[in-house]
Symmetry: C2
Subunit: 332 residues, 2 copies
Amino acid sequence: MRVSGQRRTTIKDVAEAAEVGVATVSRVLSGTGFASPATREKVLAAAARLDYRPSALGRNLRRQRTGGIGLLIPDITDTFYARLADGVLTCAQSAGEPVMIGTTGDDPEREAQLIGSLIEESVDRVIAVPSGDGEMWGPAFRAGLSVVFAERPVQGRENVPSVVTDDRSGVRTAVEYLAGLGHRRIAFLARHGQAQRARAFREALAALGVPVDEELIVRAHASRDSAYAAASGLFQHRPDLTAVLAGGNMLGEAAVLAARELDIRVPRDVSLIMFDDVPWAELCSPPLTVISQPAQDMGYRAAELVLREGRRSRTVTLPTELIVRGSCGPRR
Amino acid sequence: MRVSGQRRTTIKDVAEAAEVGVATVSRVLSGTGFASPATREKVLAAAARLDYRPSALGRNLRRQRTGGIGLLIPDITDTFYARLADGVLTCAQSAGEPVMIGTTGDDPEREAQLIGSLIEESVDRVIAVPSGDGEMWGPAFRAGLSVVFAERPVQGRENVPSVVTDDRSGVRTAVEYLAGLGHRRIAFLARHGQAQRARAFREALAALGVPVDEELIVRAHASRDSAYAAASGLFQHRPDLTAVLAGGNMLGEAAVLAARELDIRVPRDVSLIMFDDVPWAELCSPPLTVISQPAQDMGYRAAELVLREGRRSRTVTLPTELIVRGSCGPRR
DNA sequence: AACCATGATGGAATCGTTTCCATGAGGGTG
DNA sequence: CACCCTCATGGAAACGATTCCATCATGGTT
């Protein structure tokens, strides 16, 4: 314990203190290679005595890679992504891996920038909720990163392992439930990047013989303001709709708010189903019927996937569940 | 653009391509030192042609520090901390600094572990919502980290810059408001680590001449389950209370849930004020009266503080605001 | 004309670790 | 007894950047 201005204790100091070579210290401490019990003891004692912590900097430079996981999500303020991040962190921390986080705001350009910065930092494992198309991931793959996509796959990168929710089935369940209540003019509030869900929505309608009205499919960006604008605009332009499926919790929140603002009562005037179950869905008035998604699990699985780099694994699809509460009623 | 198995382009490659020395390349690219316009041009061209990105690893090792910011929060799932993290990320990303995030779960031991891992990674700037006492931060200061505390100060480390909310004033406002409605038996649901607020709560009661009932001050850990248990236990043990102040949004959520479960109506039977304004507070039934805190701003300011390392600055105190909605009523 | 200040430049050391390789000791087998 | 194989060990190279320092050229001053 020296005064400030001290030099970091290095492996060399330990070697000196233990009266062995640095190579031996490295071998003992990293557990690889041979060492006699006596030497091992000496080294361990010296390391403990000097309170030695190996520098990740030196190790990483030599190994030509940074341990750790890069995590790219659209918005940490969205509880869905927060839970996803929590899953990643839980897995990563139990594996002792640091996590570098970045938020893209669903902006491909910012995503590209963050990818660049991860490459610069030699982070070689990335979990991402991709915003853009597959192109911007070119540099990442060229640099040899192992990537796992979460929540959404990327078209054109089908062989990249991904962990996604079963959008098709989730959307179908919701649409069938609404149709069963008599609804025909059902709107879908989607975020950019949810093309998959929009497609599933069209398919589900078509399967039920309901004509698809493209004007009822509205897109918003990953921000509260954008979500509110989309929801409010939808209600105002199309007062004839009787049900809304919100593609995420922020869109659901916006829908409730916009409906309240416009004096549209839920579920009397409009039925509402929201993707993603969040704690407040139950506290809301009325309690929201939702399609729950295992966000935290998704993050955890993605982290597992990206950590066992060896085996190439296909994409994992996680199930959704319809939780009926009080925000849907028969067509008025 | 080579096939896989390629070597990273290094500064040496650029030097060769530009027909100059590596030192010159470094000077040009990092902007320091002298270089003739002609050479500068050559270097820049070569770097662009080879798509050169300097390795952060090499730089960091030489500089003996990692750029970037370590961020330690109790729970990323709590929207308050998510917003705080968002503020940090916004500032850090606009400064081009990577952020390493870790969640402590308000567990001092995990916190200590994460601090250790930050030191190992040579991260030299940390923003933390501290869980434990000042002791575990010893190693961090000894290692020369520059630390900024957020949300809570740490006793015994008063000279560490911090960004906190004005707990005293926030609590006082809430208590005075409740007292003004006639409430006397007011409970406080606190999280561990909110000793500051509990103290302010006692002071505010004392200032109003209301006797302090220690049994009405209940503590929970940073998890939904713990919060619910605390809230439910409180309502069951003390059916005589008429108002509750929740120290955080998860505690408020738990209080609403527990009250509903026990058939306690808000605000008829019990008035409720929650610390931290969240989007769902308005959607809740009844809409929740809250003490809003500038969480995102707090994170941003903390990041600013930790980034301009030079000047030592005192702690910043951010104001709170009482937002009256519908969860408080006169004493029954 | 000699000298010096200044700017441009590149070689080489350095950061802390891992890992390759050479060396040496010791024991078992032919 | 010679030989070889194995294990233990340490020196030194490598990773990729920054930066100190020496060298050299140039132009201005005395």
